[in-house]
């Protein structure tokens, strides 16, 4: 079965004809050519495919594409501002060594963004819980946690 879906993607209204068994990640990567969202496992276990749907972080590999009808989806590309200006969370990951091979980074950054929207000054335990669904094989997480702490303070400064 195919259906026309309409939703907001990184701030723009878009629509696409989608088959019923397609997951959100397929529509993002193949229909809209947004390759920043990564497919790490396809089973919702690694978090590489994390995107925001109405500000909540979800595994786009398990999220049926039909379900985004009328909702707002933000991908890693959507965090980047005009003139390739990185979002404070992205900036903090760059500044503090939160990125190595980078394959988990888009999903990790989306989870961190969701966390900081909900909890602007998270403690260590909250940060670890916030990214517990995002696996990383390179970093051992230490500099990712430091990056999120840095992002929190950068965003606080911007808000003040």
């Amino acid at each position: 079965m195919k259906k026309q879906i309409t939703f907001t993607l990184n701030g723009h209204e878009v629509s696409a004809e989608v088959e019923s068994h397609r997951m959100l990640i397929e529509v993002l990567r193949d229909t809209f050519d947004l390759k920043g969202t990564k497919l790490g496992c396809g089973q919702g276990e690694c978090g590489a495919c994390t995107v925001l749907v109405d500000d909540l972080n979800v595994d786009s590999c398990l999220y049926p594409a039909f379900e985004v009808e009328g909702r707002s989806v933000t991908t890693i590309e959507g965090l980047v501002g005009e003139g390739n200006r990185l979002h404070p969370v992205q900036e903090a990951f760059v500044a503090r060594g939160g990125i190595q091979c980078g394959f988990c980074s888009p999903g990790m950054i989306m989870s961190a963004t969701a966390l900081l929207q909900e909890t602007p000054s998270p403690g260590d335990a909250e940060i670890k819980r916030g990214i517990s669904g995002n696996l990383c094989r390179c970093t051992g997480y230490v500099q990712i946690i430091e990056s999120i702490q840095e992002a929190a303070s950068r965003m606080q400064e911007q808000a003040d």
Partner: protein
């Protein structure tokens, strides 16, 4: 702290990070070529079976299918370390993952559907899944013939390793104390977050262009060229292009079946063919790390001086042979040379079974060796009644020492590593005092050390790395290197080294890697060698570039400054030109360059007597009979290949040391182990990039803790039982619930670039034995096999041997 460097040792952010943070880096998964088809592989349903018939007719009829290949309609393409593997199995399958057929189709769904339509008829054969059983008489033969077609009599892989120094039997008799143990390590999977894959295509001259996930583009080029010859395309060339890698951890040291299959499909269809492994497929079909069984004895005299070390090890090779069969050559380094020991015996047996075949993983055999060696060393300390730290300290490695294997230790920070970890853990106060477990929570501390190549490792005839420096007339420098960025920070350290050596700022450097057609030759990014060899090559290339820049400066410096002074006067008639000796004759040796400025050595701070690098480059490009500044260098370290008969030779130009220690809490009711603190002190020679070196050590430690406590690639008669991250447990952020102290000990190696040594692998080498030794300190029982699960702890507490 003052430093003689401008950029080396700083935490300058990685140049590749912004694109990765923005989701703009292009991994193999993201690559699309015009007209691209999607390949999919049909794997064996049996661990050991004769192929009777393959029916591809239904698959061929499926709309969208462009090619179906099997051993029946393709040339025989052999591959692997001893060429015992071949693309598409013809006579029989020897492991579950054996490739029997493949399709190319216009979309991934059609390709998957077509693979399901291929019918293969098998005749099941008895299999053998235990390496010791495989060695017994009458065991099923995995290979009836070897890579050259000669009959095989048994399941031994013909890659024997044996090292003997001194007289172990005599030393054993003379030892005051001897400890004997048997240890095992499990299969584990590298678990790159980005799965493996490639896109293969041919140009109209039948040359191959392959984008692929590899750490060895130039050796892969050789492998693929051999495959082209086998396909009847002798003399044709392969161009290997490496996309952004989603981790690699040793998986890119060999070429793989899926790459050859993509090549065959691309040749057959005349279109680009992409094969990317799905996660479950990667778990099942990508080779994991070798499991080992070790029988170890070590002895010491009354004072605790080591007298001998004897290790016999069996490695389960699986069904085919990768470069992983050479891991014992790296095991041999710590076994012969960590802690000073005069008498050594080490022998391995590598055995074919019907299990999945194994390959390299970060550490390359060293974690398996360290596991046996460092656990047994604690046992010996107990036999001798000596504190394990004290025993290690008495036998520690020292600088400027020649080991029984002929390893020439130059810089060595082993003592400082041991002391640092002991201090971090509060060893004196805690060792031997956390047991008792009145509340059911016993605490203990333990440590273990590592010895590894730190100055590359000559496993091939060449150990070289090429670098080209190309300067443009804006003062930018392309540093074109043959090494590979796979996440470890190669570009970050090379960029800093190039900037430092040349005298420019890092923002002016663009590191270019990953294309055999444009990058200089490099043997590969393995053995913790990437930064060591490439940065040394960059220093050499930078020296040449500076010479050329200073020659140009001698010619153009004063005239250019005079020109600029006149120009200022033209703009502002009031301006008084500086009273300088514009006719002065200058020599190249009069100049220096720092942070993009060329100036006179004798007067580095003169406000007028200096030019931007780009001004000199423009003069060079635009003058009559102009010139350019492009230099190259090939660094091949002063190390030796092993003599295969004696297993002796100075494999590396420098050696790296480290000690790791853990404090753990063991719940004696549940068997659960909680790490309370972890300390990692590594002799790194010199920190090149402080941010990336910390990342390497933290990442190594956490992978090492996974190896110690949770990771196990489980199989039943050769079939993988946990091909997903739910059942195969790599650690998550919530597992980092303890402090990790990372100390970089700087010993400034003479051969290292700015004094640095390799540090890519060591972070995970001694992690598991450090934890096991801490567990022993806590509960007084020793776990002999990895991972150390709660079930094993409980069984050990009941007196069972695990």
């Amino acid at each position: 702290m003052t430093t003689k460097f401008s950029f080396i040792g700083t935490d300058y952010p990685r140049p590749d990070a912004p694109d990765k943070a923005a989701g703009k880096a292009v991994y193999i998964h993201d690559l699309v070529r015009p007209g691209m088809l999607f390949g999919k592989i049909k794997y064996s349903d049996f661990a050991h079976a004769r192929i009777k018939h393959i029916d591809t007719s239904k698959a061929e009829r499926l709309p969208g299918v462009r090619a179906v290949l099997t051993g029946d309609n393709t040339p025989l393409v052999r591959y692997g370390f001893i060429k015992d593997n071949f693309v598409f199995k013809r006579d029989k399958v020897r492991q579950y993952r054996d490739e029997v057929a493949a399709v190319a189709a216009t979309d991934p769904d059609t390709a998957a559907e077509a693979v399901d339509l291929i019918e293969v008829e098998y005749e099941d054969l008895p299999g053998v899944f235990d390496p010791e059983e495989a060695l017994q008489e009458g065991a099923p033969l995995i290979h009836e013939t070897d890579g050259r077609g000669r009959p095989k009599k048994d399941n031994r892989v013909p890659v024997p390793w044996k090292f003997v120094a001194g007289d172990v039997e005599k030393a054993k008799q003379a030892s005051a104390y001897v400890a004997e143990d048997r240890f095992e390590t499990q299969l584990i999977q590298q678990s790159c977050m980005g799965t493996a894959g490639c896109v293969a295509e041919f140009d109209l001259q039948n040359n191959l262009i392959i984008h692929t996930k590899t750490q060895i583009p130039f050796l892969a080029q050789n492998d693929f060229n051999q495959a082209l010859a086998a396909m009847g395309l002798k003399g044709k060339n392969s161009r290997v292009i490496v996309p952004t890698l989603g981790g690699s951890f040793g998986t890119g040291l060999d070429t793989h079946g899926y790459e050859y299959i993509a090549i065959l499909l691309a040749h057959k269809t005349g279109r680009p063919v992409k094969i990317v492994l799905e996660r479950e497929e990667e778990f099942i079909t990508l080779s994991p790390r070798q499991p080992t069984r070790s029988h170890i004895l070590q002895g010491c005299d009354k004072e605790g001086k080591l007298t001998f070390r004897e290790i016999r090890m069996i490695l389960d090779n699986g069904a085919y042979t990768s470069w992983g069969a050479t891991t014992p050559s790296v095991m041999m380094l710590p076994i012969s040379s960590i802690y000073r020991v005069p008498n050594v015996f080490f022998e391995t047996e590598i055995v074919y079974t019907n299990n999945t075949y194994c390959q390299a993983m970060r550490g390359y055999g060293n974690p398996q060796a360290a596991w046996a060696l460092e656990c047994n060393l604690d046992h010996l300390a107990e036999e001798a009644g000596i504190d394990p730290y004290e025993l290690r300290h008495r036998n520690r490695n020292i600088p400027n020492d020649l080991t029984p294997m002929g390893l020439n230790i130059t810089s060595c920070g082993h003592e400082e590593c041991l002391k640092t970890v002991a201090d971090r853990l509060g060893w004196k106060d805690k060792r031997g005092k956390g047991g008792g477990a009145e509340d059911g929570k016993a605490r203990g501390v333990g440590m273990a050390s590592l010895f590894h190549v730190g100055g590359s490792g000559r496993v091939y005839r060449s150990d070289g790395s090429g670098v080209i420096m190309k300067l443009d007339d804006f003062g930018n420098v392309s540093v074109i290197a043959g090494g590979i960025e796979m996440g470890q920070g190669f570009e970050a350290s090379l960029g800093l080294a190039a900037a430092e050596a040349l005298g420019i700022t890092p923002d002016k450097v663009k590191v270019v890697t990953g294309d055999t057609a444009t990058c200089p030759w490099d043997v590969g990014t393995h053995a913790s060698r990437g930064a060591f060899t490439a940065c040394n090559a960059a220093i050499m290339a930078a020296d040449k570039a500076r010479q050329k820049i200073f020659q140009l400066a001698a010619e153009h410096f004063m005239p250019r400054i005079q020109f600029k002074e006149k120009r200022k006067q033209k703009k502002d008639p009031e301006y008084q030109p500086a009273d300088l000796d514009y006719e002065r004759l200058l020599e190249p040796g009069d100049f220096d360059m720092r942070e993009n400025w060329v100036f006179l050595r004798e007067d580095p701070d003169h406000p007028l007597l200096r030019l931007r690098l780009q001004e000199i480059l423009r003069e060079a490009h635009y003058k009559e009979q102009g010139t350019m500044v492009v230099t190259e260098a090939f660094y091949d370290p002063c190390n030796q290949m092993l003599d295969m008969k004696t297993c002796r030779g100075n494999m590396s130009a420098a050696y790296i040391f480290g000690t790791q220690g853990a404090e753990v809490e063991v719940d004696t009711e549940t068997g659960k182990i909680k790490v309370l603190r972890f300390a990692a002190a590594h002799d790194v020679g010199q920190v090149l990039n402080r941010q990336t070196i910390r990342g390497q050590i933290y990442g190594g430690v956490m992978t090492g803790i996974g190896y110690a406590l949770s990771e196990e690639y489980k199989t039943d008669h050769g079939r993988n039982l946990n091909p997903n991250f739910l059942d195969y447990k790599i650690l998550s952020a919530t597992d980092v619930d303890f402090p990790i102290d990372v100390d970089c000990i700087e010993t400034h190696d003479e051969e290292g670039p700015f004094g640095a040594k390799g540090v890519g692998e060591p972070g995970l080498v001694p992690t598991a034995p450090a934890i096991a030794n801490a567990v022993y300190d806590a509960i007084g029982v020793r776990i002999h096999s990895l991972p150390i699960t709660p079930e094993k702890v409980l069984a050990a507490l009941k007196g069972e041997k695990v």
